[in-house]
């Protein structure tokens, strides 16, 4: 296979995954949503034909897995058509849904259209807990109903548990629920502090003691449930020693298409100042992946400074997360402060310890038109 040159010393592999944020509209208002603070309105969303072309271009480029996300993707009336188009070009198709507004009949139609897997978010394991986060009354029963429908239809489903200080102590119950409802897989994802999660960090950050207990439960579950339930997990990196290999490296494996067609290497990349992200209406996906300045900005290791540049882990974690470095340090090319080798690491840990042990402030819920950009800037300025 020949690949266009781009001036980067590393050879560029084709992308494996495409995250399609079909809409930012959502019936839930989760305060940790990873969507940007400036949400895309319905009138700016890509049309069916645009998405269909994007899926075809993605498959041709080498994308194997398509993640249909949002917002709530079920709010798109053309979801069945989009799944069918994705299946027709050979993409393995995952639907990431809150289950609110998606019933068994529609799930059956999606399966018939070629859907391979559904991921259902569980904000908590009790009706009150789910409502505290999502603010949609009765949501838990809808999630349980959709999970049962998936099993009935022979569709594998993932229980997606987003964990934070208010529900982390119920991790065993999340695991039990996944087993009771016949999940194929569970994702125990501690909140990542981007988008609305960054705004609400102090209200969400677990204590170190909570996290230690979580690790012990996780270790036992991975051992005991081997072969019965696939378990994936995300640890909050404010307490980490090494940073996460964010998106498996910038522009290395995944591309994200926002509802208005903006293409980014990561769903949080909009926080990095100075980058212009191309749109699918303007350029083919192939050119965006291989040639755009935004995708080449932090590719490989050539952009790194010390301590990343000479670090033996530089091709394991790629210096961590560029967005986190930009948000917390105002410098996207700095070492992610989640790394113990960053001079700012200790301040980040102290920030997490301070916020997690103080009484939680009220949530700023995710809503269209909420004017919280200023608040985010204030938090960034007061950060590590």
């Amino acid at each position: 296979m020949t690949q266009p040159p781009n001036g980067s010393p590393e050879s560029i592999e084709p992308p494996m995954g495409l995250l399609a944020e079909l809409t930012h509209r959502c019936p839930l208002q989760c305060p940790y949503c990873s969507n940007p603070l400036e949400l895309v309105r319905r009138e700016r969303e890509l049309e069916t034909a645009d998405w269909s072309r994007v899926f075809a271009e993605a498959a041709e480029l080498g994308v194997l897995q398509l993640h249909l996300s949002g917002g709530e993707p079920a709010l798109r009336p053309d979801l069945e058509t989009l799944v069918a188009r994705a299946a027709a070009v050979g993409l393995y198709t995952n639907l990431i849904t809150s289950a609110v507004g998606l019933d068994a009949d529609r799930l059956a139609r999606l399966r018939d259209a070629g859907l391979h897997h559904v991921q259902i978010s569980f904000q908590d394991v009790t009706p009150e807990g789910v409502e505290l986060i999502g603010r949609a009354p009765g949501a838990l029963s809808k999630k349980i109903a959709l999970a049962r429908a998936a099993v009935e239809l022979g569709l594998p489903w993932t229980l997606n548990a987003v964990l934070h200080r208010h529900n982390l102590d119920r991790v065993e119950r999340f695991l039990e629920l996944a087993l009771e409802l016949g999940a194929h897989r569970i994702e125990l994802a501690n909140v990542q502090y981007y988008g609305w999660g960054f705004v609400n960090r102090a209200a969400l950050m677990p204590t170190r003691a909570q996290l230690d207990r979580f690790r012990a439960v996780l270790e036992r579950a991975v051992r005991e449930l081997r072969g019965r339930l696939a378990i994936d997990y995300v640890i909050p990196d404010y307490y980490a020693r090494y940073p996460k290999p964010c998106m498996s490296g910038w522009g290395r494996s995944v591309m994200v298409v926002a509802p208005d067609g903006t293409v980014m290497p990561c769903h949080a990349a909009w926080v990095i100042p100075g980058l212009t992200f191309p749109r699918v209406q303007e350029q083919p996906l192939r050119a965006i992946w291989y040639e755009s300045a935004a995708f080449n900005a932090f590719r490989g290791t050539g952009w790194m400074r010390e301590p990343c540049r000479s670090c033996p882990r530089r091709e394991e974690d790629f210096g961590g997360c560029r967005c986190q470095a930009a948000m917390l340090l105002g410098d996207a090319a700095a070492t992610d402060p989640a790394c113990a080798l960053s001079p700012h690491h200790e301040a980040m840990v102290q920030l997490a310890e301070r916020e997690s042990t103080a009484p939680p402030p009220p949530f700023t819920y995710r809503r269209m038109g909420a004017r919280t950009t200023l608040r985010q800037r204030e938090l960034a300025a007061a950060g590590a």
């Binding site: 296979m1 084709p14 494996m16 995954g17 041709e60 480029l61 080498g62 194997l64 897995q65 050979g90 393995y92 995952n94 391979h116 897997h117 991921q119 022979g154 569709l155 594998p156 993932t158 194929h184 897989r185 994702e187 081997r226 072969g227 019965r228 339930l229 696939a230 994936d232």
Partner: protein, 105 residues
């Protein structure tokens, strides 16, 4: 302790897709939130799973074809499939009352 034994009949669920990827020019195995790149030997095994054959029968068939000891082939087959079984990516049907006794360590 292995999750698989010689008497097990194993197959890929309908939602685990093994296909040739023309871009990378190799087979890929696609599952929920997983992309695996099986080696050619694993591809051969995956393509022959199911059809009511026990893993021991499959190993015997491969041993005849490749003129290799069936015991060693069986160990290799089970080792290669173990990762998929751990990740819940195989449907496993236990066959015969001696399934547990025949299980490899």
């Amino acid at each position: 302790m292995s999750l698989l034994g010689p008497a097990d009949v194993v197959r890929l669920p309908s939602w685990v897709v093994l296909r040739f990827d023309p871009v990378r020019r190799r087979h890929v195995l696609l599952a929920p939130e997983r992309v695996l790149f099986p080696c050619p030997t694993t591809v051969t095994i995956l393509q022959r799973l199911g059809e009511g054959r026990r893993l021991a029968d499959l190993a015997a068939e491969l041993a005849r074809e490749f003129d290799a000891p069936a015991g060693e082939i069986l160990e290799d087959v089970i080792a290669l499939l173990e990762e998929l079984a751990c990740g819940c990516l195989l449907e496993v049907r236990r066959c015969g009352h001696d399934a547990a006794a025949e299980r490899v360590a």
